[in-house]
Amino acid sequence: MADEPLTRADVPAQLGPLPGGHHGLSREQILESQRERLLAAMAREVAVHGYRATTITGLVKVAAVSTRDFYEHFESKEECFLAAFEAIRDYVEGLVVEAAVEQPDWAREVIAAVRAALAFFAAEPDIARLCLVEPVSATPRIAVRFREAVLACIPALSRGRGEMEDGDLLPSSTEDSLIGGIVSLVTRSIAADETETLPALLPDLVDFILTPYLGTETAARIAAQAAAG
């Protein structure tokens, strides 16, 4: 249920480890545990109510902390949201880097990275919503932070220019446009509560991403392989 206090099992691992029990915990450990419960509460509350209707009162109830505890960790609802966003961003980055590192070439890295990200968001719909759907309509500051996180993917994409002749002749906004398309397609599924369909987007996304760098035929061929693999 949406507004019941979180149990240990509810806190996604991506938001930090939850130490067992309260006996013999140091103050630092207690604070860390509270912080993680608040971040998990933010994901839960925002998924149910949206950012705007989420309140600190609601958050502390779900996180089973006091309002005073909240303000020890965060100055505002916005700060709490940003902390959750950054924690997830770091986690997904780790996932994606790990998936990509074993791949033999750039195109396979792209496939592995996209596959890992889609699998994660499909498994964690609340987190997917917090990360990808809510930011653009939360606050202007959050929208800008979202933009920065997404633009940080550009270097990984622009390595595709090294895979083609005259890669420098591709328009400079190519990567930004690619990201825009990807975000648009992915958020559509999340916003429609169809996160289970995310992994099925893999071939289309791979085709879209690889096409400017490798050409339509090669991109389509690799995308078909990705679908089968």
């Binding site: 949206g50 950012y51 705007r52 759907v133 653009v136 309509s137 939360a138 606050t139 202007p140 929208a143 800008v144 933009r147 328009p171 400079s172 906004s173 190519t174 930004d176 446009s177 690619l178 990201i179 825009g180 398309g181 990807i182 975000v183 648009s184 397609l185 559509r188 916003a191 987007l201 071939p203 289309d204 996304l205 085709d207 879209f208 096409t211 400017p212 050409g215 339509t216 035929e217 389509a220 995308a223």
Partner: protein, 176 residues
């Protein structure tokens, strides 16, 4: 509310009106844009690629012209919430049929991903939206050729797309 001596009833009446007012304002801007795009595209018979270029140029021009409303979209989105996403999806859907017509020009058009029109339209609005977020709406005309090229390239291939996009920007007077 206590200080303003306003009752709950009155407050929520005005609050809800503000949201509705904003949505109405934005919907009107969207409808006017759609109408303008249709006018421009149908003004004279054109090849598909030119229709796309004209449509995108018109959309960007309307955003620049209506920059106050456009900027308000970014600032007021928290007030409006989910309704904004619906409008965003509607704007994307409005471009999809125009883009999809490009499949007929490509012998392998039927092999393109089913979602490609949505992805491309999403990418167009993302580019515009991001300029709004960072307060650089005046830069929209600059990015138009590249945005157009991305769409056309999908259906016509790199060379043809680049040629047409350049043609289009050469025809237009430079942004003031």
């Amino acid at each position: 509310m206590k200080r303003a001596h306003v009752s709950y009833k009155t407050f929520y009446k005005h609050f809800s009106n503000k949201e509705e007012c904003f949505i109405a304002l934005f919907d009107r801007a969207l409808a006017r844009t759609e109408e303008r795009v249709r006018e421009e595209v149908e003004a004279s018979p054109r090849p598909w690629a030119e229709q796309v270029a004209v449509a995108l140029r018109t959309v960007f021009e309307m955003i620049v012209e209506g920059r106050l409303v456009a900027r308000a979209v970014v600032v007021e989105a928290p007030t409006v919430g989910p309704a904004m996403r619906e409008r965003y999806e509607a704007a994307i859907e409005a471009l999809v049929p125009l883009f999809a017509a490009g499949r007929e020009l490509n012998p392998r058009g039927h092999e393109l991903p089913a979602t490609i029109e949505h992805t491309l339209a999403g990418s167009v609005f993302w580019s515009a939206y991001q300029r709004l977020v960072v307060g650089e709406v005046e830069r929209l005309p600059e990015i138009l050729p590249e945005v157009t090229e991305l769409v056309l390239r999908t259906y016509l291939g790199q060379e043809e797309a680049r040629r047409i996009a350049r043609d289009q920007s050469a025809r237009q007077p430079a942004a003031a």
